[in-house]
Symmetry: C2
Subunit: 520 residues, 2 copies
């Protein structure tokens, strides 16, 4: 046993029970109030049938109640299943059933999905409405459930016990449930604190989606530090700047797209965001031009890039604030994902798992206490990526002589659009279900707004006609909006390799001429 | 598995193989040279018979070779047994035999003890001379052994495997071997980095004895950060200031006695020590007066107090630099040991192990990943102190409403006089506030009337005179009558342990000859 996730709450209660724990809109809770709510929620979830290690889901925008969901589930001995808010009902139901999530918390924004989720999911038994409006029929009310429950003692889960199942897109076309333990999430938080991601006297803003591992890393590091959380429902450029100014936010995490949108908004100059000390980001590298403008917009912020994946709880490397400022004099560092965290080992290996020479491209492999337990119910898939303790990331990269990692391509066929991972296979699966489609290849093409945009190259069956709009509408019924093709190109055939594989490199070439594919 | 101790060396080799790793007198090694020496030493120790987990001892002053001893032993798969340099040959032989240490490294300073150690110890088989003079008969030469060996691959010990047996208890009777694991030492290093004890771009001075857990904590945190080590053989006031100035030392650890001696030396002003950023200390609290003077002497240093014990790898709490500067406005913080580290849980319990109310004195108990595996070969003693994962420290303390821990005394040092409990620290604090007092130690001595009477051993400042009556009157102004010394003895100096703690056992001895002391 290294640690346990609720340890941070006990620690905060010992140090500063009267300090503000959460600020969310007009609501504000001290650590004492927050801890009481967490202890009640833990008891309530047990009453609703949550046993040790049982999964509890949450589908909602960011809120203080989302934080309570995480810690209340752990307090009661359960494991969290934070649901991707971009997913379709079909995808969500699949993931709930996959890991047998019977209790789902759902907020105002998503309550309309409840009926469809209920009809699609076999596992789902209890829905808890986490909103301030009227409680929909057939749901329990979060606040009522909390008030009716007695605060319980911490169930005391820890170490290698299951703390969460986080779903990520799958190369096979199906989402995979990544099992993370108390130890792995705590180890990541310690390494993040060692990298200076946040401080105990800081006010950290949670505005990137809390279901996502990156926001989760900021959340758990700040919880370990025992600071104050400012929580905003979702990203908007001016909303972010406004909440930073209003609450004196010192630390936050965004994705580069969000940084660019907030920095370049025509009204951005109306807000004073000089309070920001650390602006962490992940999902992709940042362009030199955007960084320069962002540094002017956030004049006192150190920029910190994290690279990783959900399977690593999620951080493998950090690119430090000093590296962003160019203090080492080494050029090109902004194209790097940074260097191994305090607790991880990072190397680049060939197909046999042997380390390749410096500068040579291979697969990025990572080992450390933050590595996942495995994929839920997918031992073969787990064994394929987790070998001798090393997580094989599927990312192509190279390492330089100073330990900087450069991600040069993805081994897996994946597109990063607006900070979200889109696996081509999932989109191709959706397209294949349209009766007019004979074959398709989905690639990422350059996009100023999204880094990459999802682009589909489609071969139609003989004598059939379909429009780009029809294909897009078809996909929207099956998969999340961000995964759907933003553009479609019809061809008579796809370029193939001698081995019969689609040559995506050839498809990408014309789109990427003159661009650098900023992958990470 | 959390981590492994040699991980830091692999990490440094990935990041900066050409950076200076060690500076020791006129010797200097890059990380590449240092790593090569470590890999050779690992191989050499295996050749000398060190199997997995076997103990290897080192008896010597601080040096770069002492650092190589630690990491070379771990690289080769062994466990370190760093020997207390203040101990007699009898005590050392006892500890070597207790944990079956067959290989001992011994330096110039201690080579004269070799014959006696050999005759007293049954386990000892191989002596390696770690000095630059002629190799004594019957010993191997460290440099020759290193040059003859081939560098080997890291043995890969990790997690809960034994990393060291550190002997404690010189002041409490029979020495006990504290078994620490890779995980426990790494967890302590991570928490220390989270508390800001050192930085990757820092130059850390190792001048407090490296055999001791406190110096070891600084050493392992700095190794994890991958910084440069400056290593000096032993503490002298001017030697410390000189080496700080010469090498631009940024981080160091001392004990309060050392801080006072370096600060108050009449020639101290001749050295510029403004390069020091963090001055960590442990072993005892620091007096307000010494701290004020030390802050002037080290104008850019943040002061950081660590409280703990070898059994905790060793840190339980930290008193932050902000607390030393009085930033919270809370008074009396300098008498506190600080608050729980990032990874530990700290509470105060009664004899049944139940937590006592805030402000009540009880026994300090600590839980966390840094807790020892147990005492070597002493399962009953282990079971007595390590209960339900909590290490019962034997220290009396109380916790305040902000989570600050105050150590009131060793439980065993508590004086019971006339049925009242007197904690020596309270009396010593009162004495320290008299302008004539340089240092004091308060003990219980036999008394027909009171069972024990409070007795003070006092060292006066140079050139000052004060009577027993004046000191007594002074104390009566500050603390309850029953706590005031009933007798005072003036001395030139107090007997100290290797870790810089006052040896109260020595002070008590003459008084208790022929008496039995009732210790709880």
């Amino acid at each position: 046993m290294l640690m346990y996730l609720t340890q941070s709450l006990h620690r905060a209660m010992q140090r500063h029970p009267q300090q503000i724990a959460t600020i969310c809109g007009s609501r504000q809770h001290s650590y004492a109030q927050y801890a009481d709510r967490v202890a009640r929620l833990g008891g309530a979830l047990q009453t609703l049938g949550m046993g040790k290690g049982d999964r509890v889901g949450m589908l909602g925008l960011n809120s203080d109640r989302y934080l309570e969901f995480f810690f209340g589930t752990w307090w009661g001995g359960g494991a969290v299943n934070p649901v991707n808010i971009r997913w379709s009902a079909a995808e969500i139901a699949y993931s709930l059933d996959d890991c047998d999530t019977r209790i789902l918390l759902i907020d105002e924004q998503f309550k309309a999905m409840a009926t469809e989720l209920r009809s699609r999911s076999k596992a789902l038994q209890t829905l808890v409405y986490v909103g301030d409006g009227d409680t929909p029929d057939g749901m329990l009310n979060f606040e009522a459930v909390l008030q009716a429950a007695a605060p319980i003692a911490d169930a005391g889960c820890n170490g290698n016990e299951l703390a969460g199942v986080m779903y990520t897109g799958g190369t096979t076309g199906f989402p995979k449930g990544v099992m993370l333990s108390h130890d792995s999430l705590c180890a990541n938080a310690l390494a993040a604190l060692g990298a200076g991601i946040t401080r105990s006297d800081g006010r950290a803003l949670l505005i990137a989606p809390m279901f996502h591992a990156a926001a989760g890393a900021m959340m758990l590091a700040h919880a370990a530090a025992g600071g104050t959380f400012v929580i905003a429902p979702m990203f908007t450029p001016l909303g972010t700047l406004q909440v930073i100014q209003q609450h004196g936010v010192t630390h936050l995490l965004l994705v580069p797209t969000m940084i660019q949108l907030a920095t370049d908004h025509p009204d951005a100059g109306q807000y004073d965001v000089s309070c920001v000390q650390v602006l962490a980001y992940g999902g992709s590298v940042i362009s030199e031009a955007v960084l320069q403008r962002a540094m002017l917009r956030f004049p006192n912020a150190g920029f910190l890039q994290a690279y990783g994946m959900t399977e690593l709880s999620p951080c493998a490397t950090y690119l430090s604030a000093a590296d962003h400022r160019g203090e080492s004099g080494k050029s090109g560092l902004l194209r790097s994902a940074g260097r191994a965290t305090l607790t991880t080992e990072v190397c680049v290996v060939d197909a046999d798992g042997t380390e390749v020479p410096l500068g040579t491209v291979g697969e990025v492999a990572v080992r450390g206490p933050n590595t996942m337990l495995g994929y839920w119910n997918k031992p073969e898939l787990t064994a394929a990526v987790l070998r001798n303790g090393w997580m094989h990331t599927g990312d192509g990269g190279r390492m330089d002589e100073d330990g900087y990692l450069y991600i040069v391509d993805r081994m897996k066929d994946m597109i990063v659009s607006g900070g979200e991972n889109v696996y081509s296979a999932e989109v191709e699966n959706a397209l294949a279900q349209h009766p007019a489609v004979a074959a398709s290849a989905v690639i990422g093409i350059p996009s100023d707004a999204w880094g990459e945009a999802v682009h589909a190259v489609v071969v139609l069956k003989a004598g059939v006609v379909v429009t780009e709009q029809e294909l897009s509408a078809h996909c929207h019924q099956l998969i999340a909006g961000y995964k759907c093709p933003r553009s479609v190109e019809f061809r008579d055939a796809l370029p193939m390799t001698g081995a019969g594989k689609i040559q995506k490199t050839e498809l990408r070439k014309p789109h990427w001429a003159g661009h650098t594919r900023a992958v990470n």
